[in-house]
């Protein structure tokens, strides 16, 4: 399996990258780590006229920790994020999700931005960004814009990115007070594509009730989604409530069917993993409250 012949373009500056995007638009593929795109090129699932290699745009490898958010450049390798203490302590859900992403030998090269731009529905990094309510920053020859993660993913491998835009960075809300985080998934082999991945951010008040909740699901529908849990705000943050939320959400989702699993199995994973992850997030929130 070899890719189709393509023109190789390696910009040294952002301006050059913009020129190339203006020239090729949708006929080009942008490559960063290439862990997903490289496989698709080799299988000829994508047949670009040009490959725009952004690996020399060093500015895109920056990580900035602000007052309320962490901003990771599109080129930040997954392993680099795992080795960056400010990301691991500041964005606990990402810290919990990254060990599930691929393997030691793929995280070393695979990027956070590439995973988001690729938009595999089962991918952990998009799910984490959506669960936390983060954002995607994009740049085109016409300017820059920031899209909320929950509006960025449109479907299977499809995003709101326009053909002449480059994902430049991701914006991650930092850890919040009295809030707990949990992440888990089931895959055929650790590091493979998740059949279902579940993430939660839960804030628990001093009264022990749920004050805020974001319950994210990956690999279930054609994009990472946040379940509607508004009806459970104010309920006690207990295992019983976790079970109830997971059971309710499992009935509401419209799961994908593929070679790995049918809809019933995915619903069952939402129930089992969901109850586990919600309960873990509640407990994590209580620990965070006691520690503060």
């Amino acid at each position: 399996m070899k890719p189709v012949a393509f023109e190789y373009c390696r910009p040294d500056t952002m301006d050059e990258a913009m020129e190339l995007l203006a020239e090729f638009g949708g006929d080009a593929s942008v490559i960063s780590g290439g862990l997903s795109l490289g496989a698709m090129l080799n299988m000829r699932l994508v047949r670009p006229a040009a490959l725009i290699d952004i690996n020399r745009l060093d500015d895109l490898a920056d990580i900035r920790i602000g007052d309320a958010t962490a901003t990771t450049g599109a080129l930040v390798r997954q392993a680099a994020a795992m080795n960056f203490p400010g990301v691991m302590s500041g964005v606990p859900l990402l810290a919990k999700a990254l060990p599930w992403v691929g393997h030691y030998q793929t995280r070393s090269r695979g990027t956070l931005g590439g995973s988001v731009a690729h938009a595999d529905p089962s991918a952990e990094i998009p799910l984490t960004l959506v669960t936390l309510g983060g954002a995607v920053k994009l740049q085109s020859p016409g300017g820059t814009r920031e899209v909320p993660a929950r509006e960025f993913f449109l479907g299977l491998l499809t995003t709101d990115r326009r053909a002449d835009e480059l994902v430049t960075s991701l914006v991650w809300p930092l850890r919040r007070e009295k809030t707990g985080y949990a992440f888990e998934e089931i895959a055929q082999r650790h590091g493979d594509f998740a059949i279902t991945a579940v993430a939660a951010e839960a804030t628990v008040g001093n009264d022990g009730n749920i004050a805020d909740l974001s319950f994210g699901l990956g690999g279930v529908e054609d994009r990472p989604i946040v379940a509607d849990t508004a009806g459970f705000i104010g309920k006690p943050a207990t295992q019983d409530t976790a079970d109830e939320i997971a059971n309710t959400v499992a009935e509401a989702v419209d799961p994908m069917i593929d070679m790995q699993a049918n809809a019933d199995y995915r619903r069952q994973l939402v129930r089992v993993l969901g109850a586990r992850v919600l309960s873990a997030a509640f407990n994590d929130a209580k620990s965070a409250r006691e520690a503060s």
């Binding site: 190789y8 080799n42 393997h103």
Partner: protein, 161 residues
């Protein structure tokens, strides 16, 4: 900016196991194929060509990664380490290779080059890994002969445990 036309061959010069070597590559030539067919270095194996099996893993600029998901033209000027660089010039195996030999950590050998290069970088970062850490690192490789247990033992032995 560097631009190479689809049918244009560009000279690629890189350092492999301390030696400067060069060959020609059109943009779509995979680094694995460049190593094997341009440089005649057959130690790096080609398995799935989509990053899953791990057979092609080598060390590029000090990072253990898949060489089937890289293009040779991306690697101009870079420093590579491949399985050919592990043993001494006279063929004496290094400690990791000896541990593989002593523990029966290979049978057909197809996956071995990739695992050796992963383990080389992994032990450099984490010289005394736990069993769990070794197993987690090995999840990025597929071996159809050994059942992995002997490989885990060999890497732990090379790590001095």
């Amino acid at each position: 900016m560097l631009r190479i036309k689809p049918d244009q061959k560009k000279r690629v010069t890189l350092t492999v196991n301390g030696k400067q070597v060069s060959g020609f590559a059109e943009p779509r030539l995979l680094l694995t194929d460049f190593l094997r067919h341009e440089l005649n270095m057959y130690g790096t194996h080609v398995g799935c060509e989509h990053g899953v099996c791990g057979a092609c893993t080598i060390i590029i600029d000090n990072v253990a990664t898949r060489s089937c998901l890289r293009y040779a033209v991306q690697c101009d000027g870079m420093e590579l380490r491949t399985v050919e660089g592990l043993a001494d010039a006279d063929g004496t195996l290094n400690a990791l290779q000896k541990a593989f030999n002593e523990n029966g950590a290979l049978q057909c050998g197809f996956c071995t080059a990739g695992i050796l290069m992963s383990a080389t970088k992994f032990l450099q970062e984490n010289p005394k890994p736990t069993r769990e850490e070794v197993v987690d690192m090995l999840s990025g490789h597929i071996c159809r002969c050994t059942g992995y247990e002997q490989i885990v033992r060999a890497i732990l032995q090379a790590g001095g445990q």
